[in-house]
Symmetry: C2
Subunit: 199 residues, 2 copies
């Protein structure tokens, strides 16, 4: 037992921050909000983290760890380009569902540049696009895909999988919109990306 409180609350603080940042966005959340949310004084947060921004940075690292895996396995994995992209889509969408707040933190600068860490985050997104583009280019050269522009296709693919996160925002905040099951959504994106809507 003993001195367990330390690391423990550090983690609790981070999780509260994750949820609040994900729900309301970085600037809309006061440090005192985070403190209150996990029953702790504001000063304690500064005991464990140097900055408000360093809290965000810790979350971004965690988020990158979760989502970058999928891109890396798509690039380095074996199998056809299509197979690798399919598993990319499935695992990304699943992670998006499990770590909704983290994904929102990652992609936020796309609609809100000028926020904190947006330069780093955009760079990360740029790398993801390039990685996906490489896989798509492989597929095009191998005759698996039509001769599409890999860069554009990669952007669109990322746009599609991230639509998941956006859709969950929508469905939570506008009454009519139903929550789609994760699996159905991933399958839908796979179909749309590879076959389009043609009859």
């Amino acid at each position: 037992m003993a001195e367990s409180g330390g690391k423990d609350t550090r983690e609790r603080i981070l999780r509260c921050a994750e949820e609040l940042f994900g729900q309301r966005g970085y600037e809309a959340v006061a440090v005192s909000d985070i403190a209150q949310a996990c029953g702790v004084s504001t000063a304690l947060i500064y005991y464990h983290y140097t900055d408000k921004e360093s809290l965000l940075r810790a979350l971004v690292e965690r988020a990158s760890a979760v989502f970058d895996v999928h891109t890396r396995t798509a690039v380095e994995g074996t199998g056809s380009a299509r197979e690798r992209l399919e598993t990319f889509i499935e695992s990304w969408v699943r992670s998006a569902d499990e770590h909704e707040s983290l994904l929102r933190i990652l992609v936020r600068p796309l609609t809100d540049p000028g926020g904190p860490l947006s330069a780093e985050l955009l760079e990360g997104i740029g790398r993801t696009v390039e990685d996906l583009a490489a896989v798509i280019a492989e597929g095009v050269e191998g005759g698996e895909f039509a001769p599409v522009d890999p860069g554009m296709a990669a952007e669109c693919l990322l746009g599609l999988v991230n639509t998941r996160a956006a859709a969950s925002v929508l469905s939570k905040l506008v009454p009519g919109e139903p929550v789609e099951p994760v699996r159905a959504n991933a399958d839908f994106i796979v179909q749309l990306f590879f076959r389009g809507t043609s009859a």
Copy 2:
């Protein structure tokens, strides 16, 4: 000449706000920033607009006017579902390019719920999705499209066209990313949505 200054500066203020909100996001922009950007005192902004939020509201109305047209003509227009969706895509992407800041203001709550006006904005996005879904449903019933889920397809379509706005953020902030010409982008989305990437 005479009292021309009134409406004129009112408009100038709004345009400065549009640019700054679009670039940095609502909360990152101080009212005094807007004032400085168009060479005017802070107090004058409060003379013309009651609130900081009312500035945003004025912009949102303007943005809705620009983008809702495309949805309405897609719903009410004549021609096959596919034709109407194609012109929707083309005109939306063109507007996205011309009114980048406005679009960013419109879609921001997707990655940043909890911001100001996010409820209204999300509702508007929800309506757009429903409208598109209706057109897609028509196409499915008429045998034009495969039997896809119209709601999901509509979400994905909107995700695709808005990827344009995101891409422009990307290309401006990460060095490697090139700016794609508008036309090529629209055509790409049309192809991807209707035919996928199949060879």
